[in-house]
Every structure is written in structure tokens, then in C-alpha cells.
């Protein structure tokens, strides 16, 4: 432990010095170069992935945002601050408001809102303010925030004009905003000079860009503040073209929960629904994991963990992506030769650059050892001893994995398109479910897969043709699948051809398709189609399905069968769990029962059950209380505590006849430890017995 020159017991922060590289070099004994290459591979890969994710997100939001922007653009198209020619009875105007329902995945909202703000600023108006509820506890704060952002943005936009607004000093109020707005717009108008130029309607619109106020999380705002804010906005609506955007996590009814009718009637609300986060995740997975562009993949256990966090806990894609990023970092940090995890084009030079030590590490990978063992005896030796030969083999194996990826993902989509509409969804409704099964094991040997095919075997001609077409369209555009697409199209054509043919046959065979017969056939033996009353259609059907089955069984194998898959697949569940899933209670118990785990000091190193006097007081008290029953006698506890922490004093006390009360320091330390335990919820005071406390946990000794 680092020493400080302070006397107090407190937490001190020690700045680490370049932890990242040091650990990779020290802990794993690599050359400096290896660590650096891995790091650069990682950062390059992550950068690409990140860009891809952002592009996906932008594309997904485009649809809903387009509508929203159009609405904002149109909302004040005939705005004109004509305050003079007002009649006494002004027409009541509502504030154009958009309610953007974003779903409960709150960690994602920040990105959504940032994107929206940027979009609005780029395409509609420079005057945008984004308010978060935590910044706006009062009317004053909300006004200050709004003004600062609106004015500051405009300043940044036209910094050549010396807009010398020192708003921060003066009081921020709506009237200031109004006069600022009038000033800005009039200044914009004046250089254009002659009124002839301004007759176009579109130009006029640009002259009065709306002021957009985005409230990120409507639910979080305090009701009175928001009510006042809306009332004020409507008060100034004839001078400033305001548009409000409410970001809502739950449902539109939230607006009515916060705003009473008197206020909500000032709004003209239009509702927009943003993409559901489940769809969003599907797209991200599709772009990032289900593609051979990015060689890094998740193993089944980690994949399921991240998916569970998503489905069970927060619906947040952002958390998922961060988990993915963490997995990547961990993978490149820990796995020995992970810089080979790169595109197929770079494999050869990288393998060529491997040193002997790195090759040894490769040989020690379990999948590689398995591969060597599977080879004939005479070829094992060169693999293990001849580095150049081994390099060739490694290159080949890595290229194989790449081609595996090329094949597997289109076929996965294909299988998904077939199976998603089957009754009871044996393979799941979402692509990610099939992918999870693929990661776990060979998909063609699973029960679900067999179930789906048994459904397919009783399908009618029309739906089967449709499915085949779906398959073909999924595989189209991949040059490696040209042959497959052709075969599928042939099948479709044949199915179409037999239409007349079957009609003819039907007259001969009374029943072309017997439910019972097909059932029996399935039971007896799957795929031998030759029976008496098999029609042309049936035989063709089983041919087609057999073809698909073979195709899937050939390519949709689990990555675990491939040698060197450890380079691409990250499956260290415990590491991820430790970092991503906080378990406060387990952490507290570990800290209390084995303080050495966190403190890393030599004095506390001990067996799990042992109690040492050198441990922190609370640990001693905790371990002692584990030995007690439901009620703990405080005095006995104290005695045991003193015996352990300060055995010398107990011996002394025995010699003295002054009584065996421990000294005050011990007393104080003990009381402190007990109240800390009480704070942590392990004991509580009880009235059932004097001088006792009740234990609140079970177990122990």
C-alpha cells in the first residue's frame, strides 16, 4: 500500500501512471510491440464499429425526426410580430408542441436528444435550447438555461458580428429573450434592404426562425415550474415563435399528470413515437455483430449476459454498446495474440510478423491443441515444432474462420426469415435468439431447429414458394451464394410448374396430401420420401427442404468447433460480470469476510474463517457475529472482540482484580464497529431482551 504523510485515516487518491500499457506488458510478459499492436488493432476496430453504430442510429431516427422537423418548420410559417395592429380580441394561439415518446430506456435518451438538437440546429433554426430536469429546479434556473443556450448558440453562429450580450450578469427573463429576438431578426432583415427582395414566403420564414425549446425528460420536471414556464411561453407567443419539444419516457398521459388543464390547453400537442429500443438493438446487432466486416465477436455466455441486461433491466442500447466495448477492450487486453483479430486481408502479414513466443501461445490455445490432436500423427510434429509451417497453417485457419463468417450470417438471416412466422416460433421471433443458439452450439442439432423443419414439412405449396423466395432474396447480393440462389429459384420454378401437374395428379390420387401420412412419415424416419402415395409436390417439397437442411447443417455450425476461434470470440463471462454487473451485497460480504481481497495488505492475509486482530474492527465484529444466533448479547460480543483485537489487555485484566471491563478505547472501537454493522443492515436493536441486538441475516458458521 502506498504511504501518505497524513495522520488522518481517509481515502487518498493516487494517480496511476499509464496503467494500460504497463499491465499488458508486465502481467503477460509481452514485448512492448505486441501490446501496442493489439491496442492499435482495438482502437481501429472500435472506431469503425462506433462509426457504424452511429450511422445506424442516424438512419433509424431519420424517419421520426423528419416528420418532427417538418412539423417544427411549418409550425410558425406565418409568424409575424405585428404588435401594432392588434384588435382587442386577439385570437387565442396555442404553442406548437411535439410530444416525442422515447420509451423507458432512459440512458439512450441523451444520444437521441443530442442528435435531435443537432438536426434542428442544422436544418431549422439556430435558436435551440435543451433543458434537462436536473438543471431546472426553479423558474429562475429554467429561464437562465434557456436564454444562455439560445443566445450563446446564435453568438457562436455569427461571431463576426460582435453581439456583445452579457446576459449572464443581467436577470434572465422572457422579456429579455423577446427583445433579443426582435433585435436579431430585425438586424437580419435590415441588411437585405429593399422590400422587393423579401416578398418570397420562404425567405420570410427564414427571417423568423422559430425558437425551439427541448425538454429532455418531461417526467422529471417539477410541476409548478413547468406550468409557469408554459404559461409564460404562451404569454410571449406573439413576440417569439416558440416551439416546445417534450421528451417523454412513458406515455403522452404524462403531460396531463404534470400540467393541469389550464396550462395544457395552451398547448397544441402533436405526438411522435420514436423507434422502439428492441428494434434499435436488432439493427445494431445486425450491423455490428452479424457481419463479417468486424472480426470481433461475442461468445454465447457473454452475449446472453449483455442481452439479459438489456431485456431484464434497462432496455438501453447504449448500455449494450458500452458492454460490447468493454468486452472488446478486455479481449484485446487479455487474449494473447488477439491482434490477429483483423480483416482477412491483413492476416497474412500479421501472422508473418509473429515471434516464436507468440506462436507458442497460439499453440497453447485449447482449440488449437484440439486441432493438433485431430491431425494424423505424422503431421503433428511439424505443427508443434516448425514455426514456418505452423504460420502457414494458422493463416489458413484464420482465413477459414473469415469465410465461415461470410457464410454464416447470410444463412442465419435466411433461416430467420423462414422460421420467424412459424406457429409458436420454435426458433424465436427475433434474429438475436437464433444467433444466441448458434453461439451456444450447432443449430441443426437443436430440438427447436428440428421442430421448425417438421412444421415446414407440412406446409402448403404457396407458403413454401413464398419462403423460398424470401430465402433467395436474403442471399441475393452475396457472390458466394450465387449457386444457392439459383437452386432456390429452380425449386420455386418447379413448384410453380407442378401446379397444373398436381391438378392432373389429383384425379389419379384421391388425396394428394394426407395429414396422417405425413405425420407417420415424420415419426418413422425423416427424410426418405419414397412411399406409395407421395405426390410430385410432396417429393419436391422434401427435396427442397432437404436441400435447405443440408445447407444449414453444413454452414451453421458453432464457432466452438473451429480451431483458433478464441482469437475472435470473447467469452470470459466472469470478467465481464465482475465489471458490468455490480453486486453490492456480495461485495460487502467479501469485504467483511476477506478484507485482504480489497485491501491487499499483508497483515490481513488469512484463511477465510480465521479472525485476525489486525483486520479492520468491523470485519472482526462481523465475523464474530456470524457465530451467534438470532439474538446477540452485546457484552459477550464485546468480550470476544477485545480478546481478538487486544489479547494482551485481557490477560492483564485477569491478573488485576479491578474487574474485567475493557478499557475505553476498546469500548469505543467496538461500539463504532457495531453501529457500522447496523448501518449496513446486519444487526438492529431489539427490545425483546435487554443488552441484545437482533441479527438480520442468516447463515454464518
Amino acid at each position: 500500500m502506498a504511504e501518505t504523510d497524513s495522520f488522518t485515516k481517509a481515502c487518498f487518491a493516487f494517480k496511476g501512471s499509464k496503467r494500460k500499457e504497463k499491465t499488458s506488458i508486465d502481467t503477460y510478459g509481452f514485448t512492448d510491440k505486441g501490446g501496442k499492436v493489439r491496442y492499435s488493432t482495438y482502437s481501429h476496430l472500435w472506431q469503425n464499429m462506433d462509426e457504424r453504430i452511429k450511422a445506424t442510429q442516424a438512419k433509424l431516427y431519420a424517419t421520426v425526426f423528419d416528420d418532427l422537423l417538418a412539423y417544427i418548420k411549418l409550425s410558425h410559417k406565418d409568424f409575424c410580430p405585428s404588435t401594432e395592429s392588434k384588435t382587442l380580441r386577439t385570437k387565442r394561439k396555442e404553442i406548437p408542441t411535439t410530444a416525442l415518446v422515447m420509451g423507458v430506456n432512459m440512458p439512450d435518451h441523451e444520444t437521441t436528444v443530442t442528435t435531435l438538437t443537432a438536426l434542428v440546429r442544422r436544418s431549422v433554426t439556430p435558436h435551440v435550447a435543451t433543458l434537462a430536469s436536473k438543471d431546472c429546479p426553479s423558474m429562475k434556473a429554467i429561464m437562465t438555461k434557456t436564454l444562455q443556450q439560445v443566445v450563446a448558440n446564435a453568438e457562436a453562429l455569427e461571431d463576426d458580428d460582435d453581439v456583445d450580450v452579457s446576459l449572464r450578469k443581467t436577470g434572465c427573463s422572457m422579456s429579455v429573450l423577446a427583445s433579443w429576438y426582435t433585435d436579431i431578426t430585425s438586424r437580419k432583415r435590415s441588411p437585405q434592404g429593399s422590400p422587393r427582395k423579401r416578398k418570397a414566403d420562404g425567405q420570410l420564414r427564414r427571417l423568423f426562425p422559430p425558437v425551439v425549446v427541448i425538454l429532455e425528460d418531461l417526467e422529471g420536471f417539477s410541476a409548478p415550474v413547468l406550468q409557469d414556464f408554459v404559461a409564460l411561453c404562451s404569454h410571449y407567443l406573439d413576440r417569439i415563435p416558440l416551439v416546445l419539444v417534450f421528451g417523454i419516457a412513458t406515455a403522452v398521459t404524462a403531460i396531463h399528470q404534470i400540467l393541469p388543464h389550464a396550462v395544457s390547453s395552451l398547448l397544441s400537442i402533436e405526438k411522435f413515437q420514436s423507434q422502439s429500443s428492441s428494434d434499435y438493438l436488432t439493427h445494431v446487432l445486425d450491423q455490428v455483430l452479424l457481419t463479417n466486416e468486424f472480426p470481433f465477436k461475442l461468445g454465447s455466455r457473454v452475449f446472453y449476459l449483455l442481452l439479459d441486461i438489456f431485456l431484464y433491466h434497462d432496455f438501453s442500447v447504449k448500455t449494450f454498446i458500452q458492454g460490447l466495448k468493454f468486452c472488446m477492450m478486455e479481449h484485446f487486453r487479455v487474449t494473447a495474440v488477439s491482434h490477429l483479430c483483423c480483416g482477412a486481408g491483413q492476416v497474412a502479414p500479421r501472422v508473418a510478423g509473429l515471434g516464436h513466443a507468440e506462436l507458442e501461445r497460439l499453440r497453447q490455445l485449447p482449440s488449437c491443441m484440439k486441432y493438433v490432436e485431430s491431425q494424423p500423427v505424422d503431421r503433428r510434429k511439424p505443427l508443434l515444432l516448425d514455426d514456418t509451417h505452423f504460420k502457414e497453417v494458422v493463416t489458413q485457419l484464420l482465413v477459414d474462420i473469415d469465410s465461415y463468417h461470410q457464410h454464416v450470417f447470410p444463412l442465419l438471416h435466411c433461416l430467420h426469415s423462414i422460421s420467424k412466422d412459424l406457429p409458436r416460433h420454435p426458433l424465436g421471433k427475433q434474429l438475436r435468439e437464433i444467433y444466441g443458439q448458434l453461439l451456444t452450439g450447432d443449430i441443426s442439432s437443436t430440438e427447436a431447429y428440428k421442430n421448425s423443419f417438421s412444421f415446414l414439412r407440412v406446409m402448403s405449396r404457396e407458403s413454401l414458394v413464398e419462403l423460398l423466395q424470401k430465402c433467395a432474396s436474403q442471399l441475393e447480393g452475396f457472390s458466394i451464394f450465387d449457386g444457392v440462389v439459383k437452386t432456390l429459384r429452380d425449386f420455386t420454378a418447379k413448384f410453380n410448374d407442378i401446379e397444373n401437374f398436381t391438378a392432373l395428379k389429383q384425379k389419379v390420387n384421391r388425396s394428394p396430401k394426407k395429414g396422417g401420412s405425413s405425420n407417420e412419415r415424420r415419426q418413422s424416419d425423416g427424410l426418405i420420401p419414397q412411399e406409395k402415395e407421395v405426390t410430385v409436390f410432396e417429393s419436391l417439397r422434401s427435396d427442397a427442404l432437404q436441400y435447405l437442411d443440408d445447407l444449414f447443417s453444413e454452414h451453421l455450425v458453432c464457432h466452438k468447433n473451429l480451431p483458433l476461434h478464441e482469437i475472435f470470440y470473447f467469452d470470459a463471462l466472469s470478467a465481464v460480470k465482475r465489471h458490468l454487473v455490480g453486486t453490492p451485497r456480495a461485495a460487502i460480504q467479501t469485504a467483511l469476510s476477506t478484507p485482504h481481497y480489497y485491501l491487499q495488505c499483508s497483515c490481513c492475509e488469512a484463511e477465510k474463517e480465521a479472525i485476525l486482530g489486525s483486520m479492520p474492527d468491523i470485519c472482526v465484529a462481523y465475523k464474530l457475529h456470524l457465530e451467534c444466533g438470532k439474538l446477540i448479547n452485546l457484552y459477550d460480543w464485546l468480550q470476544a472482540f477485545v480478546t481478538i483485537v487486544d489479547p494482551a489487555s485481557v490477560d492483564d485484566d485477569d491478573d488485576d482484580s479491578t474487574g474485567n471491563d475493557p478499557n475505553e478505547l476498546m469500548h469505543a472501537r467496538f461500539i463504532r464497529a457495531v453501529s457500522e454493522l447496523q448501518f449496513l443492515g446486519f444487526v438492529k436493536p431489539t427490545k425483546r431482551k435487554t443488552d441484545h441486538v437482533a441479527r438480520l441475516t442468516w447463515g454464518g458458521c
Binding site: 396555442e94 429562475k140 450578469k169 426582435t182 389550464a262 453486486t583 443492515g681
Partner: protein, 453 residues
């Protein structure tokens, strides 16, 4: 009525025309104001329900009379300083702008300075021969500011020694303003609600020029026939009138009916108004969206007026998709809020349930009527682990979900933020909502509710 020097009599005529049904109030206000040089009653208090023309009448009067005045909306005055500086700015016709760095004319943040500066302003602007009016709209907000503010404003004439009249406008009665000492009773004027006939008259003013007034009056009459029971707010009625007029006039536009064909027009509009009454006050769709929907349905034009299939924007109102464990947490919170803690053992203990002697005294009121009760975090988690179908690891994610439910306003924190070791919560969702959540995870909430056993 006093003869005004600056305002022409035509102005008054116009005002009476444009502000119908408020003649009595206008007259009494004019009587109180008198001529500019007359000393007016130090403070007036104008109250009445929403949309009874209080602000409109007062501002219109002051504008017509062309007397010095300042009109402030007290919502904007969240601090005394805003209020004082706003009044002073307006009286000296000073607008904060880029030329003066958006600062106020004077810096003023207490009553003493305000009175001094007000005198100064009156002197420099030469207002000492006439009455200066200060109108404070939504005056109820003033009660939230400094305790001495309201008494000072009421006595402003006395304190400044100038001819100043402060007009308070509020929806509350004066009794609600009485607090502390030093209040002088202002002169109170009540603006009563419009009667039905008056509403018709006012609404008829909105008549579009291309239609006859009688036609529109009929329409307004029909509208009031449906809505008057539910709503007397002029604003809301105007909104509804505007919203539904397009529908009403459609037969006339198409030439299927004449403007006098009242019965036919009524038949046409009635079902629409009946559906509109369900969403009165809600405004979940904007008027533009509503108009679009109306035109859509009009295009389809099923003659029997089948309105059951309203567009989707109206139909699913409160559907919230929650993560799996959040649903269970919410259910647990609901059970904790509505079940007495004593009954937990009966519902959730896994082993034998020892039925102790039921000491059911008199049946207490249903907790559904009493509302949700506060529960501790521990109890919530205990119930959560009991109803969760599988073994759930107590991770930090579970705890963050509790707080995110609070941010979503599905739970409310009942203990202070600083009390971290015994956080208490209350569940805010309704029984219907929790039942639908329960259905989505195949959990029958009613079986676990004490009131329904």
C-alpha cells in the same frame, strides 16, 4: 360616467362592442378611475373565474384611456426584483435591448428602493398630475414572494404620496390573500361567469365572414347544448367551436343542406360532438392533427358515422413497455403500497401458512379508496424476491431500476434525499395499469391484493 379627456367617445363605443356582456364591469371601473387627475382608490382587486375577461377589460380600458400604466404578469416575477424592475421599465417606456446590454433601467431589489425610484420615475416622466396604474395579473403569485410585499403594494399610494393605483387581477378571492399584518382592504370587483346566453353571444362573434351570423349562432347553440354541462370555460368552448365547425358546415359547402336546415345539420354533427366530449380538456391531439383526422374520416365518409375506429393517435393512451424486472418491481411496489404489511406473510411466505385466528374487527375502508401507502425499500425488495419467478441475483441493476421508476414517476420517493439508509417509496400507478402489467408477465395481481381476497 366621467368625461374623459383623451379618449374619444367612439373609442368607448368600440370597446363596448368588442367586449360584450361586460358593460357593467367596464362602467364601474370607469367610475372608479375617474378623470386622470382624480385620485383613485389606492388598490383594486378584480377576481373572477378563468376566462371571464378580467385582464382583457382592464388592459383595454387603460389603453383606451391612454393613461400611464404598467401591466405585469406575475408568473414572470419569480423574484421581487423582476417585479420592481419590470414596473419601472414599463412606466418609463424603457425596453431592455442590445443597446443597453439587456439590463434594467434601475437596479432595485427591495421595497424601499422601489418606492424611491417610483417617485423619481413619476417625477421625470411628469406623471404627477395624473393617476399611474400598475396592473398585476395573476396576483396570487405575489403571495409566494416576500411577506411584506403585498401590504406594501396595497398601500403604494400612501407610501409614495403620489397618485398611484395598483390593480390586482386574480382567480382567487381576496380572503386567500390575507396573511400577516398591514393589509388594507382593496376595492373588490367581481367578474361573474358568463351565462349561457352571454356565451352564445360572445362565441357568435367568431363567425367567419362567409357564413351568416344566424347560421353560426345556431351552431354555437348546438355546441353549448352538448358541452355546457361539462364545461363553461370560454376558452375551451371557443377551441371546440373552432375545431368542429368544419364538420358542421360540410353539408352546406357541399350543397346537401341549406344554412336554415337546422335539423339535418344537427343530425350530421351530433355524433361528432358526442365523441369530442370524451376528450374534452385533454387536447391530446393538436387542432391541426384533429382537423387532419376529421378530413380523413370525411373522405372515407361512412354515412352512418362510424366513429368507433378513431385513429391510433387517440386510441392507445397509456401503454408503457417496461423491462422484465421493472415490471415485477412495479408490481411489488403496488402490492406493498396497497396491502397492509401484516398480510405479507400470508401472501408471500413460501412454507406452511399458519392461519392464525382471524381477528377481523370491523371491515376497514378499502385501501383502494385510501390511496397508496408508504413502504420501505426493504419491504419492496422482499416482495420482489418472493414474486419473481426465478432466482434473481440482487445486483446493482435492480437498485438502479427502482430509481429509474422514480424518475418515470411510476413510484414516488416518500423520504428525503438525504435519508439513504431507509429510503421509502409510494406507488403511483392505477389498478388497471398494474393489472395490464401483470398480464404481460402472467401474474395475477388480484390474487395478491388484500382487498380482493
Amino acid at each position: 360616467m366621467a368625461v374623459e379627456t383623451r379618449a374619444e367617445s367612439t373609442d368607448f363605443a368600440r370597446m363596448h362592442n368588442e367586449l360584450p356582456c361586460r358593460s357593467q364591469q367596464i362602467d364601474s371601473l370607469l367610475g372608479l378611475f375617474g378623470e386622470p387627475s382624480h385620485w383613485t382608490y389606492p388598490s383594486l382587486f378584480i377576481y373572477g373565474h378563468t376566462a371571464t375577461g378580467k385582464t382583457l377589460v382592464v388592459t383595454a380600458l387603460l389603453q383606451t384611456l391612454r393613461v400611464p400604466h404598467a401591466v405585469l404578469n406575475c408568473i414572470e416575477c419569480y423574484s421581487q426584483r423582476n417585479l420592481f424592475e419590470g414596473i419601472l421599465n414599463q412606466l418609463s417606456s424603457y425596453v431592455p435591448g442590445p443597446d443597453n446590454g439587456y439590463s434594467a433601467l434601475y437596479r432595485c431589489d427591495n421595497v424601499n428602493d422601489f418606492i424611491r425610484l417610483l417617485r423619481k420615475v413619476i417625477e421625470t416622466e411628469k406623471f404627477d398630475k395624473e393617476t399611474v396604474y400598475i396592473v398585476l395579473d395573476k396576483a396570487d403569485r405575489l403571495r409566494g414572494l416576500d411577506l411584506t410585499l403585498l401590504p406594501a403594494l396595497v398601500r403604494l399610494q400612501e407610501l409614495t404620496g403620489n397618485n398611484v393605483c395598483v390593480v390586482f387581477i386574480s382567480e382567487l378571492v381576496w380572503e386567500k390573500f390575507r396573511c400577516g399584518t398591514g393589509l388594507v382592504e382593496p376595492y373588490q370587483i367581481h367578474f361573474p361567469n358568463y351565462s349561457r346566453a352571454e356565451l352564445v353571444e360572445i362565441l357568435s362573434l367568431d363567425c367567419p365572414s362567409e357564413y351568416g351570423t344566424d347560421f353560426y349562432r345556431n351552431y354555437v347553440n348546438m355546441l353549448l347544448g352538448v358541452f355546457h354541462l361539462a364545461c363553461r370555460d370560454l376558452n375551451e368552448l371557443r377551441y371546440l367551436a373552432q375545431l368542429n365547425f368544419a364538420r358542421y358546415r360540410k353539408p352546406v359547402d357541399r350543397g346537401e343542406a341549406t344554412e336554415q336546415d337546422v335539423r339535418k345539420l344537427w343530425k350530421n354533427i351530433e355524433p361528432h360532438l358526442k365523441t369530442a366530449i370524451d376528450s374534452i380538456y385533454l387536447r391530446e391531439v393538436s387542432s391541426s392533427q384533429w382537423e387532419r383526422m376529421q378530413s380523413q374520416t370525411a373522405d372515407e365518409e361512412t354515412i352512418d358515422g362510424d366513429l368507433s375506429q378513431l385513429p391510433q393517435t387517440l386510441a392507445p393512451r397509456a401503454s408503457v413497455e417496461l423491462p422484465y424486472y421493472s415490471k415485477f418491481l412495479l408490481i411489488a411496489a403496488y402490492l406493498a403500497s396497497y396491502n397492509p404489511a401484516k398480510s405479507d406473510r400470508r401472501f408471500f411466505s413460501k412454507g406452511r401458512v399458519k392461519r392464525t385466528k382471524q381477528t377481523k374487527g370491523k371491515k376497514t375502508a378499502s385501501s383502494q379508496l385510501l390511496g397508496p401507502k408508504i413502504f420501505a425499500l426493504n419491504r419492496l425488495l422482499a416482495i420482489f424476491y418472493a414474486i419473481g419467478d426465478e432466482r434473481i441475483v440482487p445486483t446493482a441493476n435492480i437498485f438502479t431500476q427502482v430509481s429509474s421508476l422514480v424518475t418515470l414517476k411510476l413510484l414516488a420517493q416518500a423520504s428525503g434525499d438525504e435519508q439513504i439508509d431507509g429510503a421509502k417509496y409510494r406507488c403511483l400507478v392505477s389498478l388497471d395499469f398494474i393489472r395490464s402489467i401483470g398480464r404481460s408477465v402472467r401474474f395475477n395481481v388480484l390474487r395478491y391484493l388484500y382487498d380482493f381476497i
